[in-house]
């Protein structure tokens, strides 16, 4: 990126510095480096949070900047996870199978290996044949490409159909939600070729890597931080120039932009597809840290939560999306993880596991009503600097 871009957008530099500092701190304190103040599972939680922040940045680009409230980006996130999960599961199963077959009297044939892998992976859905969509599962490079290509192509096709017919506003939101629902229902089927509601599991184990999880978790943490940094930089750059002007124009008055001679549909499609690709990458980094992906992850509700995080953080500001997501998802896992102390009122004990969602729902209503700019609106309340919009 050119110098003037960073110079014109000091907040990007601030963000990247803070991210680097955070990454360094966590790394030094993590178990993997021996200090052990931060447990491996918490490193994973933080790494996953960074991935969620990345998809939130994408969500902010499509919603906060372009004005399209997509309730479908978690579908792209999940697809990214599935794509990398396919390779992880295939390769790891292959290594196990090859080791176990090596004990036989005859050396295994490729067909035997394939059949044994198929049996291992698809036994749970009563099948042993590889579906066509697993054709590239043996190639890390191709599956990595698919992490971007599959969500991108789905977004391109869906977006082309939806934008072409001028579906806008809440209608588009509902349509994207329907897309997510359709995808999750599809994945729930055993015939989907992705193990139905069992999903893909054991993703935390990297094939051929013997390093302990404490180290692997750190690698993924670094990768997530790097991806977030690059994603943030990319999105900040996209919104900084005339392209940013145009998409914000689309958000504020679509018809006017059209009468300036811009093909609004192409812009929407470009942003929709780009954000889908970013979401796919975020998902591909998230699920190896989570260890398992199943169709429930793709359910429409997840995408709505994403919108909630961005709204609470403050949309139209990239750091807002990051702050909101990090805050809500960490607090959420604190409350629902059972760490939060219950409140004993004498006649009733408030268990946070039960009441957190109610609190979240209501606080969300309050934020929408009274703080439409979200948490980053508080930052804006500080003395304003000109030209800072990212």
């Amino acid at each position: 990126m050119n110098r003037s871009f960073i110079a014109r957008n000091p907040s990007v530099l601030v963000f990247l510095s803070l991210l680097a500092l955070f990454t360094l701190t966590v790394s030094v304190l993590a178990e993997g480096f021996g200090v052990g103040l931060i447990s491996t599972s918490f490193v994973k939680t933080l790494g996953k949070t960074l991935c969620l922040c990345l998809i939130a940045v994408a969500m902010d680009l499509i919603w906060g900047y372009t004005g399209i409230l997509s309730l479908g980006h978690f579908a792209f996130f999940g697809l990214g996870g599935y794509m990398i999960g396919m390779w992880l599961m295939y390769e790891r199963t292959r290594q196990i199978v090859v080791t176990s077959l090596a004990d036989g009297v005859l050396p295994p044939t490729p067909e035997e290996v394939e059949a044994a892998i198929g049996n291992q992976i698809f036994g749970v859905v009563g099948s042993s044949d590889f579906p066509l969509i697993w054709a590239f599962a043996d190639s890390l490079t191709l599956q990595l490409a698919l992490v971007v290509i599959v969500p991108g192509v789905l977004a391109l096709v869906f977006g082309w159909l939806a934008f072409r017919s001028r579906v806008t506003g809440v209608y588009l939101s509902i349509l994207t939600q329907a897309m997510t629902l359709g995808l999750s229902l599809y994945l729930f089927q055993n015939a989907s070729g992705l193990r139905g509601n069992n999903g893909l599991s054991g993703l935390q184990n990297l094939p051929g890597i013997t390093a302990p999880q404490s180290a692997v978790s750190l690698w993924f943490f670094w990768a997530s931080a790097l991806a977030l940094g690059l994603g943030y930089l990319l999105v900040a750059w996209v919104v900084s120039g005339k392209f940013g002007s145009v998409i914000r124009g689309i958000r504020d008055n679509e018809a006017r932009v059209r009468f300036l001679g811009y093909s609004v549909e192409s812009y929407k499609l470009a942003v929709f597809t780009l954000t889908a690709c970013i979401s796919g990458i975020a998902g591909a980094l998230y699920y190896p840290q989570a260890g398992i992906i199943n169709p429930a992850e793709v359910a429409p509700i997840a995408s709505i939560y994403l919108a909630v995080w961005v709204a609470i953080g403050g949309r139209g500001r990239l750091y807002g999306a990051v702050i909101g997501t990090a805050f809500v998802s960490l607090v959420s896992s604190w409350f629902t993880g059972g760490q939060a102390p219950d409140i004993n009122l004498g006649f009733y004990t408030v268990k946070w596991v039960d009441w957190w969602l109610i609190l979240l729902g209501l606080s969300f209503v309050l934020v929408t009503l009274y703080a439409p700019r979200g948490m980053s609106g508080l930052i804006d309340a500080l003395p304003r600097r000109k030209g800072e919009d990212a």
Binding site: P107, A178, F364, V365
Partner: protein
């Protein structure tokens, strides 16, 4: 005839002893009188006595026939007693009696002639006849002819039930014999039908069988199809090429077609001993493993056997050394197959019968298919009613007011839980539903008004934010319900008069609850039209949504109108919740099952038009059922395809089926 009570039977008091003695005396007198009467039943029984007492399944036939064919009406009770192991033979004279146990362990004997009590006797003077299950079945068959003409219609129905459950050639004649005397119309119809069905299978005369089949061709009954199918059972046979099997051939099959794959055809040859079995991969690998000599299999190092081709070659080498059976090659298979012809042969020998049965079955099946279409239509209709019911509240809040209420599904849930709570206090199901409907309306109306007042009215010009805020309400309500009612499903029981189904024929049936929901949907449609077109509220709502500033300047309190309209839409969702709860489970997550479909219904139908919502519900319901029909095992796939279909449909009609045009559509 001396009564000799066993020591165990000794009465304990003298007075009882006295009564017993008196009774014995009376019995003595009676039995003495008996031989004076004519005893045709006893005569026949005596004539078959040896066979009866031998009680062997192989030899008992003539005895049963003699009894059954005697034409004596008493024989029914003889057979019944025999079957129930209540027939005893007196040791002293070999006469047969029906006996029942008294409380004191003695037996009360009755004569078969007139059912008169013969007397109480000690058990050890009699032998009980204990027919085994085989004989009891034969007795039961013989009994049928009596039961078929039994004066009690329930017994006649029972007899017919037993025949249709377990038809047998022997029952055909008694069945036919009983038709003439039948005076009950329903029974007559059943007997005639059963006669027809049994004629098809059991009549020795081919022409009558064909006639019976033709007479019922096209019938929808499961019993009819159940009778025809066994007639059309085929099995595969093989014949040398150029010959035809001496049997009722259904079809000749060519190997390598869909009907008979090459491997299946070859397997038949193997089973028939006409070809050597294939060497399976497992058998090949076993042979290889068995023949490893110092790390080599027939000159190939074991380490090299890591491809199929290498293993095949090694095996062939083994076969060449006669260490294994040679592999059957593809050429071998081709040769063997060309030497044989494959036929499907009917088990039923008569071609006339199979042809008629095939034609009749085809006719029935095409009528069944037609009926299934009707059934599918009814299914689709009821699904459409459910969607319509779930969506009609949205048609008001979203369609008319333009408010996206993501908590709409939770209002449905609220209504269903209201019904559940009402049932906790009012056990009568009919009454509780009657109370629950207005209660559910009241609760969700209040919830709707509260939501409108507290949240939505601040966001009228920010639809996306309404979506998010109401989503917050939705998750809060869902969790609240979970906290109160737990995660497991709660029952909402429908009144008994809604149980059961209206069966139009063996294929088409519709449950009463679905009819009720259909009627409810129609009522709501009427209610909606009435409120929107005929009431002040409807007029004001339309005015306030089309041009709020104009409306308020004309003295319409738009705040109040919005509040009431939103409450109304929410209240209807509550009633829909009661209806949905009656057939689906009531859980805190049930709202989520309907929300996306409901929005789709409204969007696909065309926003702002109730007929559009109706059309949308009909289309989505119809499409979903259609896909389910094509792929019945997979409702998930049906929903997936439905969503894809909707997305594509929106391409062609972005504003829905019934679209507002021009400026009214408001770009």
């Amino acid at each position: 005839m001396v009564i000799a009570p066993s020591p165990f039977d000794l009465p304990e008091s003298p007075s009882l002893m006295k009564t017993l003695l008196l009774a014995a005396l009376a019995a003595l007198l009676l039995t003495n009188a008996a031989p004076a009467q004519t005893t045709p039943v006893q005569d026949i029984l005596q004539s078959q006595s040896d066979l009866i007492m031998k009680s062997s399944r192989r030899t008992i036939g003539p005895a049963i026939d003699a009894i059954a064919d005697s034409g004596l009406p008493q024989m029914q009770s003889v057979l019944e007693a025999w079957r129930a192991k209540d027939m005893w033979q007196r040791k002293s004279d070999g006469l047969f009696f029906a006996a029942s146990k008294n409380d004191d362990g003695t037996l009360k004997l009755r004569s078969f002639e007139d059912n008169a009590v013969v007397g109480d006797v000690a058990r050890n003077t009699l032998i009980q006849l204990k027919p085994n299950s085989g004989i009891r079945a034969m007795i039961a068959t013989a009994l049928v002819q009596f039961q078929l003409s039994d004066p009690d219609p329930t017994k006649r129905h029972a007899a017919l039930d037993s025949i249709s459950r377990d038809p047998d050639a022997a029952l055909l004649a008694p069945l036919r014999a009983s038709i003439n005397g039948e005076d009950d119309a329903a029974l007559l119809a059943r007997k005639t039908r059963l006669n027809n069905l049994m004629t098809m299978t059991y009549d020795p005369d081919e022409a009558s069988r064909v006639a019976a089949i033709n007479a019922m061709a096209g019938d929808l009954g499961l019993d009819f199809r159940g009778t025809l199918n066994p007639l059309l059972i085929t099995k595969m046979t093989v014949a040398k090429t150029g010959t035809t099997p001496d049997a009722n051939v259904a079809a000749q099959l060519t190997p390598g077609t869909d009907a008979l794959s090459r491997s299946a055809a070859y397997a038949i040859l193997v089973d028939a001993g006409l070809a050597p079995p294939l060497v399976t991969q497992d058998a090949r690998d076993d042979a290889l493993r068995a023949n490893i000599v110092a790390g080599y299999v027939a000159d190939t190092p074991v380490a090299q056997l890591s491809t199929e081709a290498k293993r095949d070659a090694a095996y062939d080498a083994l076969a060449a050394q006669s260490l294994a059976a040679p592999r059957v090659t593809d050429t071998d298979i081709t040769v063997r197959l060309s030497e044989h012809q494959f036929f499907e042969v009917y088990a039923e020998p008569s071609p006339a019968v199979t042809t008629a049965a095939k034609a009749a079955l085809a006719k029935s099946e095409s009528r069944v298919a037609a009926s299934q279409m009707v059934d599918l239509g009814l299914d689709a209709l009821s699904l459409a009613s459910i969607y319509f019911l779930a969506a009609i509240g949205l048609a008001i809040t979203f369609g008319v007011m333009g408010v996206i209420n993501m908590a709409h599904g939770e209002f449905i849930m609220l209504g269903a839980y209201t019904g559940y709570v009402v049932q906790l206090f009012v056990p009568n199901h009919t009454l509780s539903i009657i109370i629950a409907v207005p209660m559910a309306f009241a609760v969700t109306f209040a919830a709707g008004v509260a939501l409108e007042r507290l949240v939505i009215r601040w966001l009228y010009h920010r639809p996306l934010e309404t979506l998010l805020a109401t989503f917050g309400v939705s998750i809060a309500l869902q969790q609240l319900a979970k906290n109160i009612f737990g995660t497991q499903a709660r029952p909402l029981t429908s009144p008994t008069w809604l149980d059961g189904a209206w069966a139009i024929n063996d294929v088409v049936s519709i449950s009463y609850i679905r009819i009720a929901i259909f009627i409810l949907a129609l009522m709501f449609l009427g209610l909606f039209l009435f409120i929107m077109r005929r009431t002040r509220l409807g007029l004001e709502t339309r005015a306030a949504t089309q041009n709020p500033r104009m409306a308020s300047s004309m003295g319409i309190n738009t705040d109040r109108v919005n509040m009431l309209t939103f409450g109304l839409g929410s209240g209807i969702a509550g009633i829909a919740g009661v209806a949905i709860g009656l057939f689906a489970k009531v859980t805190s997550e049930m709202g989520g099952d309907y929300i996306v479909q409901s929005f789709m219904t409204v969007v696909v139908g065309g926003v702002g038009n109730i007929w559009g919502t109706l059309a949308g519900a009909a289309m989505i319901g119809g499409f979903q059922k259609g896909v389910e029909w094509l792929n019945p095992s997979n409702t998930l796939a049906a929903q997936t395809y439905m969503i894809v279909f909707i997305i594509i449909f929106i391409q062609f009609r972005p504003r829905g089926i019934i679209a507002l045009k021009g400026r009214a559509a408001g770009d």
